[in-house]
């Protein structure tokens, strides 16, 4: 069986997708731990799942509709109360486009 499931470079790539950054030391540790975990997952390949419909929710629910009625809403100032920064009724973030 292949023992190297994930490389340091892949860990760095996935970290960027997940919007995380690691120190050198963390990157090394995560690579080895993720590798162990992915090796453990390999046992799923023992099972033939050809033609098995994937199950994503144990209780099958079709579209959940409700009446299109106006209900209560959280006031703007309450919704913004946890923002590290806000201005004029909006969440404020660092500049996106230079």
């Amino acid at each position: 069986m292949e023992r190297q499931k994930i490389s340091r470079e892949e860990v760095a790539y996935v970290a960027n997708l997940a919007r995380l950054s690691f120190t050198e030391e963390e990157e090394g540790r995560f690579t080895s731990q993720l590798n162990d975990i992915l090796l453990y997952m390999d046992q799923l390949n023992e099972i033939d799942t050809a033609g098995v419909e994937p199950l994503t929710h144990a209780i099958a629910q079709k579209n959940a509709f409700r009446d299109d009625a106006v209900g209560g809403a959280i006031p703007l100032e309450d919704a913004l109360a946890n923002a590290p920064e806000s201005r004029g009724g909006f969440f404020l973030v660092p500049k996106v486009i230079e």
């Binding site: 997940a18 950054s21 731990q33 390949n45 098995v52 144990a58 959280i74 946890n82």
Partner: protein
Amino acid sequence: MELYELTIHELLDKLRTGETTSAAITASVFERIDAVEGDVHAYITLMRESALAEAAQADERIKKGEMGPLTGIPIALKDIYCTRGVPTTCGSRILLNFIPPYDATVVEKLRAAGAVFTGKTNMDEFAMGSSTETSAFGVTRNPWDLERIPGGSSGGSAAAVAADECIAAFGSDTGGSIRQPAALCGIVGLKPTYGRVSRYGLIAFASSLDQIGPFTKDVEDAAILMNVIAGYDPRESTSVPEEVPDYRTFLGKGIEGWTVGIPKEYFVEGIDPEVEAAIRRAIQVVEGMGARCVEVSLPHSRYCLAVYYIVAPAEASSNLARYDGVKYGFRAEECRDLLDMYKKSRSAGFGAEVKRRIMIGTYALSSGYYDAYYKKASQVRALIKGDFDEAFKRCDVLLTPTTPTPAFRIGEKMDDPIQMYLSDIFTISTNLAGVPGISVPCGYTRAGLPIGVQFMAGHFQEGRLIQCASAYEKQAKIEKRRPKL
């Protein structure tokens, strides 16, 4: 007997007859908290002031004859439930300053039923863990042995009930996070069917698995709390509009003539001999009540852990994308631009286990790996659910150990994620299949650590679980001990 030692139903009786007041009960619980919380550390936030005010209001209502199903009863909430105006951290530094602007549906229902909230309990960060050690706010200790973990992720709620720091508590269960700590702390823990209880306002971990449930001192209290929290919620589209029975009507009935399945895959290598012996005794008790115990097979059991550790992190990586330093209080300092702010805030705000799971989940969902991991896991999940469907054609309930071992030592498994994950090996399957499960105390090890037996039933059969668990509790007569604190 101190008031804090009593159950919900015992206290309700005393409140009804005027023998005591909610103010007295609540004061008693906070005296207990003052005495033992320094050792146990079950809570992240105590709500003493509001609790005493709620107790006074409860006493007013009782005087007027307006008694609700939980009027005046002190209850603790895992710090994963949004509570309006009260800090809600989910055990994470990234939610350190988060104060929700609304109550979770379950919190609303408990409030309407008259509950008094004692505080918010400690938990593994974002409910990711089996020991409550991944909390950003310190370790909770098992009241039965302060050198050991209380289980997790709802370890604070379990420890609070076991240590009498509340009368009952609520947790959430994604892979065993109610039943496992209940077993390790010697109390009752119930995970209802997926969809039975609204999760509106429950901070999401893995949305296809998360479910809310109670921690109680006995099965009757679990039935009382299920009566309050169960039911459809138009704000939660995965809650199911299925009729809710009166769960108390299932108490005190026997299980004569029932078929109880014993899944052979749950008696495997690695199970602690004292745990196995206690479960074998539980099987004898069940047979002694006139039920027929039959061996059944859930052939895909050994794959549950692998499936879970793909599905849960995949969903978590998506759910936790919202913590980006914009909306929930925490933001890292000195950021160059938006991307830098995201990365710095998330890296500083999340702990190691959460990052590990976000990484696994992101990897499993990423281009080129989706079929090999997420799709494969979802297919095996279908087979796991199929195993349960087959078993419940023959059996009224299933009986298994709740955990493979009693409570382990603090620090013992922190450096080995897979060893830690294995402590949930008997509880994960029910979440994958969506079925309900309950853990009930079934004895102690020679060292005095509690052991739990788990019963599982088909979808929406919580009544059957309560019937079976209460019959077992009555028949087994497990010696009622209290931790020495």
